[in-house]
Symmetry: C2
Subunit: 489 residues, 2 copies
């Protein structure tokens, strides 16, 4: 019997040599019901050219699965088959779901913390450049990639797509016939991302169009969506993003990622799993979290670069800073890179190579979290101390991470636990130079006299907090961990 | 006849040797009516110790002024006198008023742009330190000083005041008897600030108290206010700030400067001349301006320093950055400095010397504005281009100043005027290194092809704008001025 590892895509294909009448993309209904242990799932099949139909399915449980097809084409109807789902391959943890309300985890419980980047139209570039993108992603440290299915018409991204997405003859695009070669390439690249441990955040609609995709009818939209779902939904690393900058896209009602800063989608809708925002004002992350009660992913905090667009020219340090602020207020951030290039090869549009300086620093933050965080960080509440919200900090149990950003305290106490007995170890972290330096508990040089005297004491130390001496430089963080007996340093 | 220069303080004093019954501060009513050309003004007099009463008056028009006193003490009643008001002394421009809705000007029309700093309790420090504060202010470049009348009980400011503000014996403070020596010193220091061209932003009430001033009765508050007004109102450089961090001060209803970030006073009240806010979120400046329709002065954008308080430990660069953002969004900023010192000599509390690096950069911005701005800057509207609010920019007529902050464009066009004929001169400004470098108009390397092709063009260039090549580094500004025939460089 065929075997398929857990959370891999099983695929059955059917070649129908008898002539089909009409357009196989539109005239054929084809699906399959997969069953195991009393559970069953119906998935759409799809036409993949050369008289071949396929159906894909991702098993979520070990054991024998069987399926039966249904179709209005006799040769595709009532076909049966089965496979054995075996243990997941090494390093495969299954699809990502929301976990612990504001966070994510793979199906096997492994924490997943999105540290994403953006290459909108990378699958529409020449093949060598697509290979280069994958090579870059192999070591860049990102674990999510925002990418669009449609080609992109926008500044710095004016080239025709490598392959047209629908069958095209002399400027006539036949929206009833997907170009299977283009979609086969898309399949391969999503699988390739999966092998690198990267979630593909697939944008289904976007407004950057000159080919007419924005003017598709509702029927055309729906057929396109069904085709995409049939092809891609069995890949464990696919996320759906209904639309990018939906508020620029007046033809569609389904949508997620906002464009204009002030207009936000109603993320409380039950079928929206998480909040995908575009907002530079990252100190507001905890507000969005509190408002929508779902994970917050800020995929466009503006991009590192130098183009003449304010959303695409923040410094590398500022990009890193915004990641730290976002994560330390309980959210997740997204990276993008937009440096001017004489051939318009900008990572954010086309992939290729990274030319900036933020990526390794973002990876450094990711590695720090991987070291200690399991269920997800919770922001240290504004109410714990009213001044706290001026800086950023979060905790998981006794683990705390504070980030000072543009603040440069030489001493600190706010938001730290009581520690009369030396129960904690403290590290000062330089977020740009990526250094971790042990620091020691220190008596703060303020206010014992003040406390004794009474009166209205505004701003006095919280009783029994302990202080710490810090470098007094901006863009530093402070890590607090319970001291461990194994002498971790 | 006595002469008094325009906008200087005329003072008449009366020594009453006959024994007065009771407390001269509370039992004596004493005022004077000043008249000139059919206008008349009644001002309170005050007791200044040693059997001496004084009345002060600032003439606002040239010519002969006469006055008549009124009192319940015979010797102070019906006294008359006069003086000739002569031309203002060189450099004296008169008191500051709101001008052009969002801005300020002196009485003679000279623009006044507040670039303030903060030394809350400087008049309560030892005299050498007060002298040092004045020496520092002489060259620091600030033209407004926030200072409190009451002494201050707060972290880093725990010393007893140089002179008690009311007559004090063995821990008994007689709130009915101001200590005239303390108030005479306050008079002198306000006059000294005036000579340096510095407005004294006098805080009448604040919550940092251990002496009981926060528990004064309404009657005591009112008597204190009348006394302060009688003494100080004739000094042209006095501003009144009703209360500092009024929301921490539960005893008083009159108030201005907020403490908690989210709570803002109702600045629309007609007797409030301008908006004094405390908010680090300086990109919101234009919002406050639009909401209250009065000048916005953000006196606490957090302070340069390194103390363990998030409001007092931003970097010098961040302090400078916040000034630029505030000014380029149509407001005015305030400086403060809070570096740890082994004897707790922090500028923000006590004055003395500046140890930071922001002051000369703030002065640099002030000097740049002095060069060109007359009526006041108007923010470049968000609506002019939706992306614009991510950076900061303002104009006065054809003069434009754009500030990019954490953004680092290598080219720029948004918010610039059309300029087919080379009518403008352009300068790139490094706000930290304080350099001004001529830059030239440049064709932007984007999108002619895009424009020709049609389709939905998101983010294309505004028609006929001109672009400019910039350093591609953060913390730079761009100045646009009409080219002048005298060949200004």
């Amino acid at each position: 019997m065929t075997v398929t590892p857990l959370w891999d895509a099983f695929e059955a294909s059917f070649r129908v040599t008898a002539q089909c009448s009409g357009n196989p993309f539109t005239s054929t209904q084809f699906d399959a019901a997969f069953t195991q242990s009393g559970r069953d799932f119906t998935v759409q099949g799809f036409y993949d050219g050369e008289s071949t139909w396929r159906v894909r399915f991702m098993p979520d449980a070990l054991g024998i699965w069987s399926f039966t097809t249904r179709s209005n084409v006799a040769a595709l109807d009532g076909q049966t088959g089965n496979f054995t789902c075996i243990e997941a391959l090494p390093g495969v943890h299954g699809p990502v779901h929301v976990h612990n309300q504001f966070h994510f985890a793979h199906a096997d419980g492994t924490p997943y913390r999105p540290f994403g980047t953006t290459c909108y139209a990378w699958t529409h570039q020449p093949e060598p450049m697509q290979a280069q993108t994958l090579t870059t992603l192999e070591s860049a440290g990102f674990n999510k990639l925002r990418m669009a299915i449609f080609p992109k018409h926008y500044i710095y991204c004016e080239n025709e797509p490598l392959l047209p997405l629908f069958e095209t003859t002399e400027d006539q695009i036949d929206l009833t016939r997907p170009n299977v070669a283009a979609f086969q390439l898309l399949d391969r690249q999503i699988v390739a991302l999966g092998k690198l441990g990267i979630e593909a955040d697939v944008i289904l609609f976007h407004p950057y169009d000159r080919w007419g995709f924005c003017q598709m009818t509702i029927e055309q939209d729906e057929r396109y969506l069904r085709y995409v779902i049939a092809r891609l939904a069995a890949y464990r690393n696919v996320w759906w993003s209904m639309a990018n900058e939906y508020d620029f896209l007046l033809d569609h009602l389904l949508s997620i990622h906002n464009g204009e800063v002030t207009a936000k989608y109603d993320y409380t809708k039950p079928y929206i799993t998480h909040i995908c925002v575009q907002d530079w004002d990252v100190k507001r992350t905890a507000e969005w979290r509190a408002e929508f009660k779902k994970p917050v992913v800020n995929d466009e905090m503006e991009y590192e670069g130098n183009i003449p667009r304010p959303w695409g020219n923040i410094s590398a340090l500022e990009m890193v800073h915004r990641f730290w602020v976002t994560v330390l207020r309980g959210g997740y951030g997204g990276h993008g890179e937009t440096y001017l290039h004489d051939q318009d090869l900008l990572w954010w549009a086309k992939g290729g190579v990274l030319r900036g300086e933020s990526a390794p620093r973002i990876k450094f933050l990711r590695d720090l979290l991987d070291e200690d965080v399991r269920q997800g960080l919770t922001p240290i509440e504004h109410t714990e101390r009213w001044e706290f919200s001026r800086v950023s900090g979060a905790h998981e149990g006794e683990y705390r991470l504070l980030y000072f950003g543009e603040h440069q305290p030489a001493h600190w106490a706010i938001g730290l636990p009581k520690d009369k007995d030396g129960l904690y170890e403290l590290d000062s972290i330089d977020v740009w130079n990526m250094t971790v330096t042990r620091v020691e508990k220190a008596e703060l040089p303020v206010s014992p006299a003040l406390r004794q005297r009474g009166g209205i004491i505004v701003g006095a130390e919280p009783e029994a907090a302990f202080g710490v001496r810090l470098p007094g430089k901006p863009y530093h963080a402070l890590r607090v961990r319970p001291r461990r007996e194994d002498g971790r340093v």
